[in-house]
C-alpha cells in the first residue's frame, strides 16, 4: 500500500458517495483518474485490505434480541476441530480463538443469533450437545454502550 492507496482509503471511509459516479467523485478529491481509483479499489478488495465493500447495518441486527456472545472452553488440542465445526453453524456469525485468562479459561468465542433470547439459548444448548462441548459461558448483552466505525489514518500522516 502506498500514499495513493491511503488517500483513497481516507475518502472511502467517509462514506461511498451517493451520486451516479461515486468513484469519479472519490478520484476528484484525491486528484486521480476514475480508472485509477477503480483499479486500486479492486486490488484492495482482492488483497483483503477491504473485507467488505458496502453497507454496515445498524439496528437490524440490534433489533434481533436473540444475539448472544458465548465463550467456550475447549482443550487446546481440540480448538481447531471445534472452531471449524462452530464456524459451519448457520446461526453463528463470528467464531474466534482468543487467549484465555487465568480466571476465565474460555478460548473460543462465538456470536449466536436467533429471533428471541429463549431461542438463542436453545440454539446454544443444541450446539453444546452436538459438539460435546459442555464447558461454556453465555454472556448476554444487558446494554449496547457504543457502536462506531473505526477511523484509520495513514502511518505517515494525512496528506
Amino acid at each position: 500500500m502506498d500514499a495513493t492507496d491511503w488517500s483513497i482509503i481516507q475518502e472511502l471511509q467517509k462514506g461511498i458517495p451517493l451520486c451516479p459516479r461515486p468513484y469519479r467523485e472519490i478520484a476528484g478529491r484525491c486528484a486521480l483518474e476514475e480508472d485509477e481509483v477503480l483499479r486500486r479499489v479492486r486490488v484492495l478488495c482482492e488483497e483483503g485490505v477491504i473485507r467488505r465493500l458496502g453497507a454496515r447495518l445498524g439496528h437490524i441486527r440490534a433489533g434481533i434480541t436473540g444475539n448472544i456472545l458465548v465463550a467456550w472452553h475447549v482443550p487446546e488440542q481440540d480448538v481447531n476441530r471445534v472452531g471449524e465445526a462452530l464456524a459451519t453453524v448457520a446461526d453463528i456469525s463470528h467464531c474466534y480463538q482468543r487467549r484465555p485468562l487465568p480466571d476465565f479459561p474460555y478460548n473460543l468465542y462465538t456470536m449466536v443469533h436467533a429471533p428471541t433470547p429463549e431461542q438463542a439459548m436453545k440454539c446454544v444448548e443444541k450446539i453444546s450437545q452436538s459438539l460435546a462441548v459442555t464447558d461454556y459461558v453465555t454472556l448476554p448483552t444487558l446494554k449496547e454502550l457504543k457502536k462506531s466505525s473505526p477511523c484509520y489514518a495513514s502511518p505517515g500522516g494525512n496528506q
Binding site: I9, L12, Q13, G15, I16, L18, C19, P20, R21, P22, Y23, R24, E34, L38, E47, G48, V49, I50, R51, R52, L53, G54, A55, R56, L57, G58, H59, I60, R61, G63, I64, L69, G83, L86, A87, I92, S93, H94, C95, Y96, Q97, R98, R99, L101, F104, Y109, P115, L139, T141, L142, K143, E144, L145, K146, K147, S148, S149, P150, C151, Y152
Partner: protein, 159 residues
C-alpha cells in the same frame, strides 16, 4: 419486528450491498439492473436507508491488521456502582469502537484498535488509570474461524 418493515426493493438492495457494492464506473446503475429498478431510485433508496439508520455506515469494512493496526477485545470486572463512570471513560476514546454491558462478573466488554501493538498497550494502561478500574484484561484474537457473515434477509414483503 426483527427486520423492521422493509419493502422488497430495500431487502434486495441490502442483501447485495452488505458485501458486494460494484466496483464499476456506474455502480448504482449496475445495482439497478440486478434489482430491476432505476438508477435514481437505487440511490434514493440507499440514501433513505442511511437516514433511517438501517444502514449504520455506507463505507468499506477494512481488515485492521492489513492496515497495520493492532486490536483486541477487552473485558473488565467493575463494581456495579462504578459501571457508569468507567464506561464513560472507556467510550470517550475514539479507539474504542464497540462496548457492551454484559451479565457476568466481567461486565464491561469493549473492542479497541490502535496504530500499533505498543500504542494499544499504552491505551489500555491509560484507560485503566483514568477510570480507576480493576485491571483490564486483553483477549486478543489468536485465530479467526468465521467473521462477519452478511445478514440474510428473507426476500419479499414483511409487515
Amino acid at each position: 419486528m426483527a427486520e423492521l418493515c422493509l419493502n422488497s426493493l430495500q431487502r434486495k438492495l441490502l442483501q447485495i450491498i452488505q458485501s458486494d457494492f460494484p466496483i464499476v464506473s456506474r455502480p448504482y446503475q449496475e445495482l439497478a439492473q440486478q434489482v430491476e429498478a432505476r438508477e435514481g431510485e437505487v440511490i434514493e433508496t440507499i440514501r433513505q436507508l442511511c437516514e433511517q439508520k438501517v444502514i449504520r455506515d455506507f463505507a468499506p469494512v477494512f481488515d485492521y491488521r492489513r492496515l497495520g493496526y493492532a486490536g483486541t477485545l477487552a473485558a473488565v470486572s467493575v463494581p456495579a456502582e462504578q459501571v457508569d463512570q468507567v464506561a464513560a471513560v472507556i467510550n470517550a476514546y475514539p479507539e474504542v469502537t464497540h462496548s457492551y454491558l454484559r451479565d457476568h462478573r466481567y461486565n464491561l466488554w469493549f473492542t479497541v484498535i490502535a496504530p500499533s501493538e505498543e500504542h494499544l498497550r499504552h491505551l489500555l494502561t491509560e484507560i485503566e488509570a483514568e477510570a480507576g478500574c480493576p485491571p483490564i484484561q486483553a483477549l486478543p484474537t489468536q485465530h479467526v474461524f468465521k467473521i462477519n457473515v452478511a445478514f440474510e434477509f428473507s426476500q419479499g414483503e414483511s409487515h
